[in-house]
């Protein structure tokens, strides 16, 4: 690994004098990810893999990748995975989980995948109370296909298919998936988080840890919605995206727990 850092310290004595307080999880494949600079997908991949490593459940975990920029998730997460058809991750996960009830099964989906074409499979899986975790990356845009409107695109927000900004009188309001599915008795734990700051990252990881633990209880579906960014299609720098999230996104998508089990 080619690295830099203060040169006066050798790796060896580093390990004597210093202790590692953060390192990339071993469950994250050591390759460069294809995501654009600053893309939240890579960050969330990392967090999920940290939890899998810490809980030591690599062998018990099966992931389902969507069609979206994170379609390649299986190239980065060092666990068994399936790549589902666009929008069908929850159906695929149902097929896996029903046959292997003892495993941890999660889907990783974008907003177009989960909330547009896949809303039916998502709702029904949750209504059945499938004991799966849905990691929902809400970046308010179709990333992979280069910037079309998503069901979560903000009112007035530009996209390649809403050149004048999203007109709610034509396309309606952005769908708040988490609030909607929290209505369903089948959902067990529903939370919305951000990852545009170290604190946000801490909370998001905690949410993911909770979710994986709840899966052990087989009490219903867990959803962790993450407000992500899409520098390339928002036409902003990653840092600008972080501000946009604080200033715009979380107004439409309030951050925090939406449904927490009383244990």
């Amino acid at each position: 690994m080619e690295t830099n850092g203060s040169t006066d310290v050798l790796a060896t004595d580093i390990n004597q004098e210093y202790e590692v307080v953060y390192r990339k999880p071993s469950t994250l494949v050591d390759v460069a990810m294809h995501y654009c600079p600053g893309c939240a997908h890579s960050l969330v991949h990392k967090l999920i893999m940290e939890v899998v490593e810490e809980m030591d459940i690599q062998e018990q975990t099966i992931g389902v990748a969507p069609v979206g920029c994170s379609v390649f998730a299986y190239d980065y997460m060092d666990i068994d995975m399936q790549e589902a058809a666009h929008g069908r991750a929850c159906a695929v996960a149902t097929g896996i989980k029903r046959l292997m009830p003892e495993k941890y099964v999660f889907t990783y989906q974008g907003d177009g995948d989960l909330a547009a074409i896949g809303i039916g499979e998502t709702l029904h899986a949750i209504n059945r109370g499938e004991n799966i975790l849905i990691v929902f990356m809400n970046n308010a845009v179709y990333g992979m296909t280069s910037g079309q409107m998503a069901p979560t695109t903000l009112p007035g927000m530009w996209s390649t298919t809403t050149p004048g900004g999203r007109d709610v009188s034509f396309y309606g309001q952005p769908i708040r998936v988490s609030e909607l599915i929290a209505q369903l008795p089948g959902s067990f734990y529903v939370t919305r988080q951000v990852v545009n700051s170290s604190n946000g990252v801490r909370k998001t990881k905690k949410a993911l840890q909770n979710a994986f633990r709840y899966l052990q209880m087989n009490k219903g579906t867990c959803m962790v919605e993450i407000i992500g960014n899409c520098p390339s299609n928002w036409k902003m720098t990653p840092v600008e995206c972080s501000d946009f999230i604080d200033e715009q996104m979380i107004k439409a998508f309030p951050v925090g727990d939406i449904k927490v089990p009383k244990l």
Partner: protein, 189 residues
């Protein structure tokens, strides 16, 4: 007249727009044209290229396996396309980014440090125009005027104030080639 050209490089290097500008210029001059981009998840890094064909006759296949000219802006593209240039053809490359040009001797191989030059000119984005200028000096397949005409179409209105800058860049490219040639690069034919 028939010129079969490929332009290849990294995503952000303006590869596609260079080919497109050339195509528009060809149209301005009433030539037959075809512009075939490689498409895909460029957005997520990776390389881009486009095949541009200018011809006085109807063009059959927009897809080619060998080229009269290859303009390459990064090493992978050099490695991939230099071998596909027809004998007697031309490879024009960005010498700041590409450290190992092809070793072929049956073609002209000319490097231009366009990136450095563009930075000098305080607008890295026009690197591709410098290259284009160099190319047109070596192979005047269209007139500079036609390029400027074309740029009006390619560039959105709000960038039209950049036209002069682009013209400078084209000329700068010309000069760079000349100096290169003065420095004794031999043209095969």
């Amino acid at each position: 007249m028939l010129e079969e050209l490929i332009v290849a490089g990294f995503g952000g290097q303006g590869v596609l727009s260079m080919g497109m500008t050339l195509a528009y210029a060809g149209m301005v001059e009433g030539k037959e044209i075809s512009w075939m981009p490689s498409y895909g998840p460029e957005m997520r890094g990776g390389t881009a290229n486009c095949i541009t064909i200018l011809s006085s006759n109807k063009i059959s296949s927009p897809i080619l396996s060998s080229f009269d000219t290859a303009i390459v802006l990064n090493q992978p593209s050099m490695d991939k396309f230099a071998p596909r240039v027809k004998p007697g053809g031309l490879v024009l490359y960005e010498s700041g980014t590409i450290l190992q040009p092809t070793s072929r001797t049956d073609i002209d191989v000319i490097g231009i440090s366009a990136t450095a030059e563009a930075i000098k000119m305080k607008s890295p984005k026009i690197m591709n125009m410098i290259i284009l200028g160099a190319y047109l000096h070596l192979k005047p397949v269209v007139a500079i005027e036609s390029i400027l005409e074309a740029l009006k179409k390619v560039l959105p209105e709000k960038y039209h104030h950049m036209l002069p800058l682009n013209e400078q860049a084209l000329l700068r490219g010309e000069e760079l080639v000349n100096s290169e040639l003065r420095e004794g690069v031999m043209l095969v034919c």
